[in-house]
Symmetry: C2
Subunit: 502 residues, 2 copies
């Protein structure tokens, strides 16, 4: 039975494995590799990109796709088989549109760009990065033209990370958010002095920071028998199979937040990958379906759980016993308020929950204008500073903490930022639904128990991997399309209480 | 000019890169990978083995080899170009003889065999490993039959690790060694009480063991900017390019030798790989030429340097200051004698310099008889114990410390052991030649300086990579074929002094 399907699945497994092998090399590069290794590593990664693209886009894949589609056309549309063929077909049609040489050129230039960007950022020298950025945008534009689009060139890029998402959808999502968010942030910042977070800025031993964070994420449900944590300059999660899912973090010796909330965040991503159904292991459905869904998991554990009062009722006494000198005399209320301090700041990854989406809006508007040719690369720093003033009320002193802060544009990742906001909004929608269906979740959190919540996420999100498109998955999990009410209610309720807003 | 040559070199570079990528995955598997990762990892490695073999043995490689041979036929026979084509042709002709399916089957069965062997070793249960061993020998025999041989099937296996080496060469080498070694070891063991090494068996903090060893190998010339050291169950060296060469070690909390001499040993391998000529980077000549030459480097730094009196004149005071409680009251002479204690023992990797080659002889005789069908797998434990009694004068209590001790047979590595003896013998021949040409080397060692020695090795061995065959390389470096006089003189002189032999 289904001979072509079996052959297709085997062929796709090799294609998928090549991507995983590439991920192993990237992980090593960012966590272990000695400095000298970089030239050879760029060559190895480019080779894998080439082999993978050639293997996947070959005529043989196309032949098997046609035959397997015939074999599965009457299959249950929610079955793994039907959806494997469906997703493979879509991926194939897209990948065929881009020539292998262009894929390799993009791999080469972005590997090269990484160090040029990093140096420009250190030196506060946007001009030295501008020509490379122009080249990347040119390549990205060529790729988008190959992929095709109807309304906006940026649509072709969004679709890479969030299948089916359009520029107009994102614009309308931010329109809605902006109406609520801007006045909320304004009201909070008018009462900025209501929260003092100096307690988080003390000497915190790294080993102890690590032990505490890892103890917590183990209790969340991150399985270290199928994972590990390492140090990296830019924290990330990566997976080589559902049984080898790794996270990374960075430590600040005088600030508790980056490693602790960073570990919660990355563990949220990792539990998603570890939770994909066992029967999907090794095939092209075995991973998170989109960056937006992924970010909903990370931000749920980082913020909705990790910055909640109930969570700290249980964990603050434990943290106090790890850092008695620093936290022994601090009360729970003060600590809870400190980890939730809202303050417009330059750096996105250190932003609080209320201002975070304003950072994303800026980037979305700038990059979609950039791709549409409405602004030029050399105008980017001024455009950045103007948006920062408009949305956050502050203007960066330097490009280092402004337009040069993020790695994404140097890596060719355009259309990626909006998924951070989608995930943030979705995290609240999912949590509301989970609590509606399992009302004991908040009480469990106060006892350091997360089984019910994790099982709900496993059942409704994780196990499906890439089987359902994001829109379907959200509809199935929450019973409705993505909505921002849950998120705005969450923000308003939480921060009105903390800041005493009326 | 030389169009086909350029195309061939590019094609071979991809083939070579696939092998390096596989090495990255193996390194990760042995040093970093969480337990859960093993199934997917076996799949990824098998895929790389397949792609690599297919790519290399394709008709296209053959066409380019023919054309490039035409282009380079009048080139200088010592040039990189001439030798790249020569070595590639030999590798190609060999690889073409083995079907890809057989390569993949061997990859699968040996990955599987690793844990079966490890469990049998722990459980002292040879029988549970025997069927797997029989299967591996069957596959290995099939591969050897594919490769072909004139006199002995074992020749086909030796040639994998030491191009051109024959069973008869190895037998005659051991014949010569045996005549001298057996009486020497007998004379030493008659005076066993002359050396006491209890000073090495104390509590030694792991971090300090590590810091001391790494300090030493840095001074040897191992470049940590192009390398790193990690922990592994079975220590090894591996390289992903000449600029990313990694070593591993294991620590014994109550015994100084394993981590310290192990690090010297692996650093010896690593400096060879780091010293390959820069212009060879990325092509198939960029690595050590054979296991024998490789082992000459590791054993030179581990033993001829690392167990010499001059070395410890400089380093013992430093080691004392690292471990004042354990070594503060010990004199140099006592310590030097301790690290050179000779004592027949069961475990090869812990053997002293004098008995080491007897361990190798046993294995050579057993595995060549096994492959020739003279003994059967089930007879192996008894045959092992009889050889052990004959050569070392001791019989293992269990198969765990006997026939099951080494990983090699479970990994399909037959013909590998003799290279350890070749390397050991060669290490002394090379050192003699280096000192003859640079008489200041011994004086430099006493000052913790190794530049002259390392430069001599770089010039005469390292830089050439795989450009010259082992026999040519030995002739070029020492002015004569491999000889064991240097090694036997070294042993006799050193141990006569230590044990007061006449």
């Amino acid at each position: 039975v289904a001979e072509a399907y079996q052959e297709l699945a085997a062929r796709l497994q090799d294609y998928w494995s090549l991507g995983k092998i590439e991920a192993i090399l990237e992980w090593d590069m960012q966590t272990q590799m000695p400095e000298g290794g970089s030239n050879a590593r760029a060559r190895h990664i480019e080779l894998l990109a080439k082999l993978s693209h050639q293997h996947f886009t070959s005529a043989e894949t196309g032949r098997l796709l046609d035959a397997a589609a015939g074999e599965t056309q009457n299959a249950d549309p929610t079955s793994d088989e039907f959806n494997l063929v469906r997703v493979a077909r879509r991926d194939y049609d897209k990948a065929r549109k881009v020539p292998t040489e262009l894929v390799m050129e993009m791999s080469r230039i972005t590997t090269l760009a990484h160090s040029i960007w990093a140096k420009a950022r250190t030196d506060n020298d946007f001009k030295s990065f501008a020509p490379t950025l122009e080249k990347i945008i040119e390549l990205k534009t060529r790729i988008a033209e190959c992929l095709g689009y109807t309304d906006h060139i940026y649509d072709a890029m969004l679709d890479e990370y969030e299948p089916g998402l359009k520029t107009a959808d994102v614009a309308s999502m931010f329109e809605t958010l902006r109406e609520d968010l801007v006045p909320l942030v304004k009201a909070i910042t008018a009462r900025a002095e209501a929260v003092n977070d100096s307690v988080l800025h003390q000497d915190f031993d790294e080993t102890k920071q690590r032990e505490f964070s890892e103890m917590v994420v183990k209790q969340f449900g991150y399985d270290f028998g199928r994972g590990r944590q390492d140090r990296a300059v830019h924290p990330f999660e990566t997976s080589f199979s559902r049984d080898d899912v790794r996270i990374t973090t960075r430590f600040h010796p005088k600030w508790l937040n980056p490693a602790m909330f960073g570990t919660f965040h990355e563990a949220g991503h990792a539990m998603y990958e570890q939770g994909v159904g066992e029967k999907l292991e090794g095939n092209i459905l075995c991973s998170g379906v989109s960056l937006g869904i992924h970010e909903s998991q990370s931000r749920l554990w980082e913020n909705i759980i990790g910055r909640s009062y109930g969570f700290w009722e249980y964990y603050f006494p434990k943290l106090q016993s790890v850092f008695p000198a620093q936290l022994g005399n601090i009360d729970l209320e003060t600590f809870y308020r400190a980890v939730n301090k809202v303050s417009p700041s330059f750096i996105r990854v250190e932003a609080d929950e209320a201002t975070y989406n304003l950072h994303i809006m800026m980037r979305f508007e700038l990059e979609s204008d950039l791709l549409a040719g409405k602004i030029k690369v050399m105008e980017l720093p001024d455009a950045w500073n103007a948006k920062s003033q408009a949305y956050l009320g502050i203007t960066p002193d330097t490009d280092t903490v402004g337009v040069l802060q993020d790695v994404h544009w140097s890596a060719g990742l355009y259309g990626y930022f909006p998924t951070y906001s989608i995930g943030t909004i979705l995290s609240a929608a999912l949590f509301d639904k989970a609590v509606e269906q399992c009302p004991n979740i908040p009480a469990e959190i106060k006892q350091g128990k997360f089984d019910t919540l994790l099982n709900w996420l496993r059942t409704n999100i994780h196990q499906h991997g890439r089987k359902f498109d994001p829109k379907d998955l959200i509809q199935r999990a929450t019973g409705q399309p993505l909505q921002s009410r849950s998120y705005m209610n969450y923000l308003k309720t939480k921060y009105s209480a903390i800041y005493g807003l009326s």
